[in-house]
Symmetry: C2
Subunit: 488 residues, 2 copies
C-alpha cells in the first residue's frame, strides 16, 4: 500500500495526497474503520512533508471521509465507502442511441467536424479560416484583463444580465452607429458568438408550415446546418461576382413565400465575394417589396483591405427595421472568446433576450468585459492594421499561386481569409482531395456549402494559418494534381 | 463646427478623434469632397496634439472615409457619405411581435426576471441565491489567468473543441471519479453553465407524444421553464423532509409512462432539502425498474456544511448508464464564468457534442482554462473552506431568525444558500410580499417553483448576499407583517 503515489507538478502537494487517499477509500483499498498511518509515517512513505499529510487529513475530515480520535490517530469513516448500487440489483443499462430526438440525430449527421479529414503532422492544411494566432497581441489581452479586474473584479465574476455587459453593449452600439446604422428603435443582445445568435434568431422566428428561407448558394455551412436543424426548407440562389444573382432571386421571390432571407454581404463564406453597394440597395428594396426580413451575417466585415467604405445592409435600411444583424469579432480577433451580438428591432431583441436567458442565462461576463476593455484601450485599430496587412499579403500571394498553378474555371474572393475555386462541371474535388491528401495537402471540398447538393467541382482554400512557403508548395501540388486528373 | 468634441478618459485620443470625425461624416455635417482643417489647425480646435490628429486622419484614410492630396490637405471621400435607403423609398417597418414563434412567446411569458420586483436602493432583498461576491478571491483568479496565458495564451484565444478544453475535462472527470462515479463508458461535455447543459439534453431526448417528465414539486424554476419550452408535460411529486415522497412517486410511475425524471438531490432548489442516501438508492432502483432515465442536477452539492459524504445518484448507479449528471460551480465559485458540464453515457455525450457544436461551437476557452488553472492551483479547497464557514454561519443565523419571528407551518433547508418556508394553506405570500416590499424588504414567493400552480402559501429566503444585520431586520419585518396578516 502507498507505493503507487506519484507527485505531479503544478498542484498543491496536500491536495494530491488528499486525492490519493480519497481514491483508496472509494476503491475500498482503505476500508471502513481502518486505522490510517500517523502523519509522520505517511509523510515518509509518500515522500512528502508531514505538514502536507496533516493538511490532507484535515481536508478529508471536513469532507467526512475520515475522523480523528484524540490520542489514537485517524480512521476511515464508517459511512465513507460508497453506498454503490445494491449488490443484488443488476444496474440498468439503456441504449441511448434509441432515445435520441430527430434534432440530435440530424445534428450528428450534419456534424462535418466529426467526419472531416484529420491533418496529420506535416500536412499542409487549407481547411481552416480561423485567424492566424501568431497575430494575437497577448500583452494587450493581459492588460485588458488586469485593467478590468482592478476596476470591478467582483462584478465580473458574479451573475450578469441576459442582454449583455452594459459597457460592451454601449461600445458595440456606438460601433454599429459608426458603420452608419440608425439606432433609433433598435437594441442589442450579446450572444455566445455568431452561432448562438443565429440559433436564437431562428428559434424565435415564426414559420408558416416548417419554414422557408432564401439565401446565397453556396453559403456558410453552419448556417445551412442550423437552418436544417430548425426545419427550414432552403432555397439557394447562385452568386455573381458582385453578389447574389438578382434576376434569379426575383424569380424565386415571385414564385413562393419565404419566412426570411439569410445573406453574407461581406467576404461571403465560402466564395469571398463582397456584395457591391448598388446590389445591397437593390437587395433591400427587393426584400422590402416582398416583405421578407433579412438576417445579415456581418462575417469578416472588419477585414476589408480595400479603402472603400461599404455600409452593411442594416445601415442602408435606415429607419427600416427588417434587417437583423449578426456580428462577431471571432474571425477578426479571438475565436476563443465566444462573444457575438444581434443588433435588431427593439421588440425583436426583447423576445430574443428571454430566449437567450432560457438557453444560457447570459454570455460570460469575463469574456465580455475583457473584450470591452481590449476595444476600449484602442487595440482593435492597431490589431486590424497589422492583421489586414498580413492577410492582404497572404491573399495576394495565394491568389497569384492559384492563378499560376490551378486550372480553375472561376476563382473568386476579394480578400478575407479564403479563396473559392470552381473547376469544370465534371471535375470532382473529393477525388482531388483524396489524391492531394496522400501527398500531404488538404483543403475543403465545396459541396458542403451548397444548398442543393451541387458544388462537387468546387473547393475552398483557407490561407490564414498557412505559411507563405507552404502556400506556394501546397497550391502548386493541388494545381499539378488537378491538371493531371484533367488529363493535361 | 468641432466645438462639441469632448475627450473621455481611458481610450486613446486619436481613436476618439477618428470616432468624432467619422460621426460628422456619417451624419453629413462633413460632406463629400469637403476640405478638412489641417492637422495643426484641428489639433488646436479640438485641444489635442497634432500627432493625434495625424493618426486619426491616417486611420480614416485606411477606412476609406477621407483621402489626402499631396500638398493640398485632406478631403472627405466622395463615396463616404452613407448610401442610405433610396430617398424615394419608404423604409419598410414590420411588426416583429407578430412574427414570433410559439417558443419565443412562451420564453417571454415564463421570463420571470422581466416581471420580478426591482430592489430599490436600500431594500433588503432575499431574492438572490447567487454567491456572496465578497468571498471571491480575486488574486487567485488573476494568478490563474496569468499562469495559463503564460503557458498557452495563443491556444486559449483561438478555436477550441466542442466537447471542451481538454485539461478541464480531465480535471472534472477525476473530480467526478473522486465522488465515486464509475467512469467506464462515460464521457463529459463542457457547456455554457448548467442551463445550456439542461437545454441541450432536453433537445436531444426523444419524446413520445410531446414528452412527459416527472420531478420534485416544488423544483428549480429554470428547469420548469425549460421543460415547458421543450413541450414537456410536467408531473411534480411532493417533498418529504428527506427528499421526494417515494410512495406518491411510485403511484405516479405505475399510472403512466415518462420520458425522463429530473431531480435535485442536494440542497434542492427551492426547499433546501438534501435527499438521504437511503432514498437515493431507492430512487435509483425505482427509476431503473420503470426504465426511466434520470437527469441529476448536481446543484450546490459542493456546499454541504456537514461532514457526512452522500454520493450523487450517478455514483450510486455504478456501471448503470441511465443517470445524466449536470454539474456547475456557478453557485459555489463564479457565476460570471459560464462553465458547466454534462457527465453521462458515452453514446449520449457523442450526440450532445454535435448539438452543442450547432448551438454555440464551444464554450469560451478563456473561461474554461481560467477555471481549470484556478482548480489546478488548489484554490477550490481553500475557497470552499471559507465559503462553507461563512454560509453555515449565515444559514444558522437566518434559520434562528425565521424560527423566532416567522409564523410558518414548515421550514425546510439543511444548508446551501436559502431556506424555504410554508405558511398555512390559505395564506398568500404575494400579499405578504406586497406589504413587505412597501417597507423595504423583498423575497421570492414560492408559487413559481410549483409545477401545478400551488404554493401560493410558500416563499424562498435567499440569504447568501444579505448582511447579518439586514437578515435580522428583514426576517423580523417579514415575520411581524405575516403575523399581522394572520390576525395575531
Amino acid at each position: 500500500m502507498f507505493n503507487d503515489f506519484r507527485l505531479a507538478a503544478g498542484r498543491p502537494v496536500y491536495i494530491q495526497v488528499r486525492d490519493y487517499l480519497k481514491g483508496l477509500i472509494l476503491k475500498g483499498a482503505l476500508q471502513s474503520e481502518q486505522k490510517l498511518p500517523s502523519t509522520r509515517e505517511l509523510g515518509e512513505l509518500l515522500g512528502v512533508s508531514r505538514n502536507s499529510v496533516i493538511s490532507a487529513y484535515t481536508l478529508l475530515e471536513e469532507e467526512g471521509f475520515i475522523y480523528a480520535q484524540a490520542g489514537r490517530g485517524s480512521y476511515v469513516a464508517s459511512d465513507a465507502s460508497l453506498p454503490g448500487p445494491a449488490a443484488d440489483a443488476e444496474p440498468w443499462r439503456m441504449d441511448w442511441k434509441e432515445r435520441m430526438s430527430r434534432q440530435a440525430r440530424q445534428a450528428v449527421e450534419l456534424d462535418h467536424m466529426k467526419r472531416g479529414l484529420r491533418a496529420e503532422k506535416g500536412t499542409i492544411s487549407f481547411t481552416s479560416i480561423a485567424p492566424d494566432e501568431q497575430l494575437f497581441d497577448l500583452e494587450n489581452v493581459k492588460r485588458a484583463f488586469l485593467d478590468r479586474m482592478a476596476m470591478e473584479g467582483r462584478v465580473l465574476l458574479n451573475y450578469g444580465y441576459a442582454k449583455g455587459y452594459k459597457p460592451l453593449m454601449d461600445y458595440l452600439l456606438n460601433y454599429m452607429e459608426s458603420k452608419g446604422v440608425d439606432l433609433q428603435g433598435k437594441d442589442i443582445l450579446i450572444t455566445n458568438g455568431f452561432t448562438e445568435g443565429l440559433d436564437i434568431v431562428l428559434s424565435a422566428l415564426h414559420r408558416e408550415s416548417g419554414g422557408a428561407v432564401i439565401c446565397e448558394n453556396p453559403t456558410h455551412y453552419t448556417a445551412i446546418k442550423n437552418l436544417k436543424l430548425h426545419g427550414f426548407e432552403i432555397t439557394g440562389i447562385p452568386m455573381d461576382p458582385d453578389g447574389i444573382d438578382l434576376e434569379r432571386l426575383e424569380e424565386a421571390l415571385a414564385e413562393r413565400a419565404y419566412d426570411c432571407a439569410y445573406l453574407v454581404p461581406s467576404y461571403h463564406n465560402p466564395t469571398g465575394i463582397v456584395t457591391s453597394a448598388e446590389k445591397r440597395l437593390a437587395l433591400l428594396q427587393l426584400f422590402s417589396r416582398y416583405r421578407i426580413p433579412v438576417i445579415e451575417d456581418g462575417f469578416n466585415e472588419e477585414l476589408r483591405y480595400s479603402g472603400s467604405h461599404v455600409a452593411p445592409l442594416i445601415a442602408m435600411a435606415g429607419t427600416g427595421n427588417s434587417v437583423v444583424y449578426l456580428g462577431s469579432f471571432s474571425k477578426v480577433l479571438f475565436p476563443g472568446i465566444r462573444v457575438g451580438w444581434v443588433l435588431a428591432d427593439r421588440a425583436l431583441i426583447d423576445s430574443l433576450e428571454s430566449v437567450k436567458r432560457a438557453r444560457s442565462i447570459h454570455t460570460s461576463t469575463l469574456d465580455q468585459s475583457l473584450l470591452f476593455q481590449y476595444l476600449q484601450n484602442g487595440n482593435l485599430e492597431k490589431y486590424l492594421k497589422k492583421a489586414r496587412m498580413e492577410y492582404k499579403r497572404k491573399y495576394e500571394w495565394t491568389k497569384a499561386c492559384c492563378e499560376r498553378y490551378i486550372p480553375f474555371s472561376r476563382l473568386s474572393g476579394s480578400g478575407g481569409l479564403h479563396l473559392f475555386i470552381e473547376f469544370p462541371e465534371d471535375f470532382d474535388t473529393w477525388k482531388l482531395l483524396e489524391a492531394c491528401s496522400e501527398q500531404g495537402v488538404i483543403f475543403t471540398p465545396g459541396d458542403m456549402f451548397y444548398t442543393d447538393g451541387r458544388g462537387r467541382n468546387t473547393m475552398r482554400i483557407g490561407f490564414s494559418r498557412v505559411s507563405d512557403e507552404d502556400i506556394g508548395t501546397g497550391i502548386r501540388l493541388i494545381g499539378e494534381t488537378a491538371a493531371k486528373m484533367m488529363g493535361n
